[in-house]
C-alpha cells in the first residue's frame, strides 16, 4: 500500500511539472503580453517594467527562474493588481472555491448513490422513469441555466414568504452555500445516478448475490452488505475526474452567484494575460486535481481489497 501511494505521488509530481511547462510554453506563444494591456506605455517605462518582471530575459532563462520560484512555492506578483502576490490571491480565494466544490461533490456523491440505488430497486417502474427523466435533464442542461433558474426560484420563494429564507447571491454564511453547491453538484449527481443505476443492475445478476440469497439472507441485508459496496466501486472511480470538473467548472456558478472564488480571478487573468496569475492558478489547480485523484485512488483501495492488497 505504501509503495503504491509513493508511486502515485511520484507520478503526480511529474504530472504537475508537465502542466507547469505546458502552461508556460502556451502562454509565451500567445501574441501580446501583460504590459500591452490598457493604455500605451512609453517605451522607457515599458523597459523598466520588463526589467522588474524579468520579461527582458530570454524565454529559457525565464523558464528556469519560473521553475525555481515554483519549487520555493512563490508564484510572483500580479501584473494587473498592483503589489498583490499570486500566493495571496490563491490564499484568499481558493478556500471559498474549495468549500463550494466540496459541498457540491458531497451532494453529488450522496445524491447519486442514493438515487441510483433507488432507480435500480424500482427498475422500469414509475420512480425509476421519473428519476431517469430528471437525470437526462441534469446531464444535458448546462450549469449556468440551473444557476439562473435557482436564483429565480429563490427570489420567488423569498418574496412569497415575505422575508429572505435563503440569500439569492453573495457569500459568507452556510445559507449562502446551499443553492450554489446544489446547482454546481447537479450535473455530476445526474451522471453518478446513471452510473450507480447500471452498476447496481449489473450486480443483481452476479453469482454472489445468488449465493447470498441461497444463504437465506434478507433482501435488505443483501442490498446493504453485498450489493451496495460492490456497486459503488465504479462510482468512486469516476469521482476523481468529477472533482476536477466541479472545481474548475465552478467559476460560472461563482460568477452568477457573486461568490468571491478563485475561478473568477482565473478567468480575469486569462483575459488580461496576467502571466503570473495564470501560471500560479493553473499550476495550483493542476496540483490540486492531481492530488484529489490520488486521494480517490487511495480511497478506492480501502473499499476494494483487490486494489489494496495487490
Amino acid at each position: 500500500m505504501l509503495k503504491y501511494t509513493l508511486k502515485r505521488l511520484l507520478a503526480g509530481i511529474i504530472t504537475v511539472w508537465f502542466i507547469a511547462t505546458a502552461t508556460f510554453i502556451a502562454m509565451h506563444q500567445v501574441p501580446g503580453d501583460p504590459l500591452m494591456n490598457d493604455k500605451a506605455v512609453p517605451p522607457e517605462i515599458r523597459k523598466n517594467l520588463e526589467k522588474k518582471y524579468g520579461l527582458d530575459k530570454s524565454v529559457p532563462e525565464q523558464y528556469v527562474i519560473f521553475l525555481g520560484n515554483m519549487l520555493k512555492g512563490d508564484f510572483g506578483i500580479s501584473f494587473t493588481q498592483q503589489n498583490r502576490k499570486v500566493n495571496d490571491i490563491i490564499r484568499d480565494h481558493f478556500p471559498v472555491s474549495a468549500t463550494l466544490g466540496i459541498m457540491a461533490i458531497f451532494i453529488a456523491a450522496v445524491g447519486g448513490v442514493l438515487w441510483g440505488a433507488l432507480t435500480a430497486l424500482y427498475r422500469n417502474r414509475l420512480p425509476d422513469i421519473i428519476i431517469m427523466f430528471l437525470v437526462i435533464l441534469g446531464i444535458s442542461v448546462p450549469s449556468f441555466v440551473f444557476a439562473a433558474l435557482g436564483q429565480l426560484l429563490l427570489v420567488n420563494i423569498n418574496s412569497f414568504f415575505g422575508y429572505s429564507i435563503l440569500p439569492v447571491a453573495g457569500w459568507g454564511t452556510f445559507s449562502h452555500m446551499i443553492m450554489p453547491s446544489l446547482v454546481l453538484g447537479l450535473g455530476t449527481m445526474a451522471l453518478l445516478t446513471r452510473l450507480m443505476r447500471s452498476s447496481m443492475l449489473e450486480i443483481v445478476n452476479e453469482d454472489y448475490i445468488k449465493t447470498a440469497k441461497a444463504k437465506g439472507l434478507s433482501p435488505t441485508r443483501i442490498f446493504f452488505r453485498h450489493q451496495l459496496r460492490n456497486a459503488i466501486l465504479p462510482v468512486i472511480t469516476i469521482l476523481g475526474p468529477q472533482i476536477a470538473a466541479i472545481t474548475t467548472g465552478g467559476f460560472v456558478v461563482e460568477l452568477v452567484f457573486a461568490i468571491p472564488g478563485l475561478g473568477r480571478y482565473f478567468v480575469q487573468a486569462v483575459q488580461q494575460l496576467d502571466y503570473t496569475v495564470i501560471m500560479g492558478t493553473t499550476v495550483f489547480y493542476g496540483a490540486f486535481l492531481v492530488f484529489m485523484v490520488i486521494v480517490v485512488d487511495i480511497l478506492y483501495g480501502f473499499i476494494d481489497p483487490r486494489v489494496r492488497l495487490k
Binding site: 453469482d207 449465493t211 444463504k215 437465506g216 452488505r225 476494494d304 481489497p305
Partner: protein, 352 residues
Amino acid sequence: MSDDILQVENLKVEFSTYGGTVKAVRGVSFSVERSKTLAIVGESGCGKSVSVQSIMGLIPMPPGRITSGSAKINGHEIIGLSAKEANKYRGVEIAMIFQDPMSSLNPTMTIGDQISETLMVHKGFSYKEASKQAVELLEKTHIPEAAKRAKQYPFEFSGGMLQRAMIAQSLACNPTILIADEPTTALDVTIQAQILELMSELQQSEGMSIVLITHDLAVVAKMADRVAVMYAGQVIEMGNVDEIFYQSSHPYTLGLKEAMPSNQKDKGKKLTPIAGSPPDLFSPPSGCAYYARCPYAMAICETQMPDEFLIATDGDKNNNQKDSDHYSRCWLQHPDSPQVDSLYQSGRTNVS
C-alpha cells in the same frame, strides 16, 4: 420411501421472454433419501439447474414462473413461500454451492465474514462467536491455516480453496440437504477429485443428503446413490446408480454413455456423439422430446408422450416387479414394443 428428506412433485417452470415462453422444466419429480446422494445428469439447457434453483427460490420472477408442482422438505412445502418464510429453510435446512466458486463469493468481504454472516443471521451468534465457528468450519473442509485464511478475501484463494470455502459456508447451519450445482465443472481435474472426496467425507460425518447436478458421468458413478437423467425439462430415466449404468433403459442414457471416454476397454475406439441438438423448448414436441435424435424412434414416439415404465431389476421386461423404482420414459419399455437388442445388450454385458 418414508425416509425421503426432499420430495419434488411435478415441478413445472416457465420463462417469459421476448421470443415467447420457454418451458424449461416440464413436470419433474424426484425424491432424496436421508444421507443419500441423488445425481441429476443431462446436457446443457435440459433444466437441471432451473429445477433446483426454483426449489431454492433463486429463479428471478419475472421472467421466471413456477406454474405447478410442489417441493417438500421433511413434509414442509417450500414452493410459493414469501422470501421471509423461505429464509427459514434456505441456508438452514437446505444449502447450495455453485458452479463457479470465483464469482460465487462476494469479492469485497473476507471469507470468514461471509461464513459467519450465515451464522449470525440464522443462529443469532455474536460476531465473535460466529467468526470462531467460521474458522472451525474452514478447518473441517481441510483449509490449511484456517484462522489466517478466514481474514483473506476471495481473490487471495485458488479455485479449489474457494470451493472448499463455499462448502464450509453451506455447512454453517448443519443443513439436511446440500445442493451442489456442478460443483467441480470450473475446477481442474485433480482438484475435482479432492472436492468430491471432501463432499463424500462430509456427507458421512454430517449425515446430509446431497443433490448433485453434473454432466459428468464419471462423477455420477463415483458419488451417486440414485440418478435422474434429464432431457428437455423432463426426467427421462431414474434409478439406482448401478441400474442406470448397467441397465440403461432409455436411448438417451445409452447415448450419454457411448459419448463418455473410458480407459478400460474399447481403447482406440471413437466416441459416438449424440447427433443433433435438444428440441426447442419454446414449443416442445407433443411426443417424446428425444424423438428427433433417437436411433430407435417409432411412429408412436412422435405423437404421444411416453409414460414412466418401471424396469424390472434383472432386465426381463415381462417380469415387472412392483417394488422396483427404476423407471424410464420410453415407448420401448412398453410390453408391446419390439425388442431392441442393443438396449438390453449394453446393459447385460457389464453385469457380472
